[in-house]
Amino acid sequence: METLSLSKRYGKTDALRELNFTVDEGEIMVILGPNGSGKTTLLMILCTILKPTSGTAKVMGIDVVEEGTKVREVMGIAFQEARGFWRHKPSSILRFHASMFDIDSMKRQDLIEQTMKDLELWESRDKKFMHLSGGQAKRLETAKVLVQRPKLAIFDEPTSQVDLRGKRKIWDKIRELRDQGSTVIVATNEVREAEYLADRVTILHQGHLVVRDSIPKLKDAIAGGDVVEVGFEGPVTDNLVAELKGLGGALALSPEGNELRAKVSRAEDWVPKMTSASYNLGAKISSIKITEPSLDDVFIHFTGKALIDQQ
């Protein structure tokens, strides 16, 4: 999946600006950004519902504008707002969806039943859509894509309105979909969801692609982002601090009594060097605690603003 200089304008508002974006086959790409960052617009263009103002987007080499029907045959989308039919029951909505994607009629019923059980919708199978709770409607939206098993699966905020238990189930099913060979795009503004699901993350901000990489690499890109708290059996001496400064890699060292707090870029590189240097100086270590930056810290680092403040 790739876009080239993709832009979308609503009146005077630029929802997407010159977006160059790729998703590799078989990965989960999480698009992270606050509301209004252009996530949903991007997904709507990919699934051919919106047309770009300029630029191109291709799914498996198929142009979304020129060959929309072919694109829709290989992709499935779970919308941000559950798209149901008020008077229909979940099972009939899923049956219709499966039939539209030519799911083998012999397997269809079993697949629907299993998916509904997996997402704890089976008990509500005879309720009308309008009587489902927000969380149930959202799970039904996800169920459509799980039943369909498309080559490109798109989820727009798949767990908003879903309780914690339900979130975990949906996340596991999305990963299962990836393991079965689907390429997955998830748009979210939830840091935890992104951390749980992402093979790679794309950060969108005000229609711009800010950065795209795996989570560890994004975190490592923050200079001094890892915080290492080291407990020693005795007081931290000036000699030890000087020695640790000489190791490089630490942006700040703050000794206080028996403890030392260090801000480093890559804790996995710095900690072995630090333990070795401490041992050579006879300083015995009693504890080490490493705190990685969160994706919110990553967002602040790259955009200058907190993700949570942007909602």
Binding site: M44, G68, R72
Partner: protein, 254 residues
């Protein structure tokens, strides 16, 4: 094609799942014909023989018009209730999507209009298989033309529902009043008849009446009427296919 039929069948199941609207439509037709139709026929008297029959066909044209209006409204409701983006994400071409809507519209129209038509023909002792089929075909063609017009107009609703509703109300008032739905062209005054020939309902109504054996001296040339009704159906459906394909987008999101 299978998917188009599948999509149409899904919408039709929703339609038939709630028969209340059909029953109300039939009841309203019967009431209008029994009270207003019979009284106005007496008033018209000898100026137009068999006005009751003329009027009952006109009433059917109104039902066809309103059913076709329903399809446009249905389309707009899909958009506003969030179903349109879902439909647009399904592996059906935009023209296939429109065909599915048209099939839905035809079924909606036929269910509403066929029983009253058969009942009227039966009461007048005019019920023949060929007559009923040709009349339904004429009404079907007219319905397609109105459906195409309404779907073409529905893109206005994507900008402003209020304007769409106002346009619809205004259009239906003008198309019905300035037509031969209730009064034949032959007895219209000169300042009125040139406008009435612009209404597609004029051609649909006169074609249906001619098929059912109404005195041709009060009607337009049937060949002309058939050509115009067919041309309107083809051109408006082509236009709406283009609009669905090129203009309408399912949802706006930032």
């Amino acid at each position: 094609m299978n998917r188009v039929l599948n999509l149409a069948a899904f919408n039709i199941r929703v339609l038939l799942g709630d028969p209340t609207w059909f029953i109300l439509s039939w009841a309203l037709f019967a009431l209008q014909l029994a009270i207003y139709g019979s009284l106005i026929s007496r008033l018209v008297g000898s100026n137009l023989p068999n006005y009751f029959f003329f009027y009952s066909i006109g009433l059917m044209i109104i039902v066809v018009f309103e059913s076709a209006e329903d399809v446009g409204r249905h389309f707009v409701e899909h958009a506003h209730e969030g179903e349109l983006p879902y439909f647009l994400s399904l592996p059906v071409s935009r023209s296939g999507f429109l065909v599915a809507q048209a099939i839905y519209g035809v079924v909606n129209t036929l269910v509403k209009v066929a029983p009253p038509l058969l009942a009227v023909l039966f009461i007048w002792g005019n019920l023949t298989v060929s007559g009923a089929l040709f009349a339904l075909a004429a009404l079907f063609l007219l319905g397609l033309g109105i459906t195409g017009t309404m779907v073409s107009l529905s893109f206005i609703a994507f900008k402003a529902v209020d304007i769409y509703m106002a346009v619809l109300a205004g259009l239906s008032a003008l198309l019905i009043r300035f037509s031969t739905v209730f009064y034949p062209l032959a007895i219209m005054p000169n300042y009125y008849s040139p406008v009435s020939v612009l209404s597609p309902l004029t051609y649909g109504a006169d074609l249906t009446r001619w098929v059912l054996g109404f005195d041709p001296k009060y009607l337009l040339n049937p060949v002309l009427a058939a050509v115009v009704v067919t041309a309107i159906a083809v051109s408006t459906l082509s236009l709406s296919a283009r609009i669905v394909d090129k203009i309408i987008e399912g949802v706006k999101a930032a």
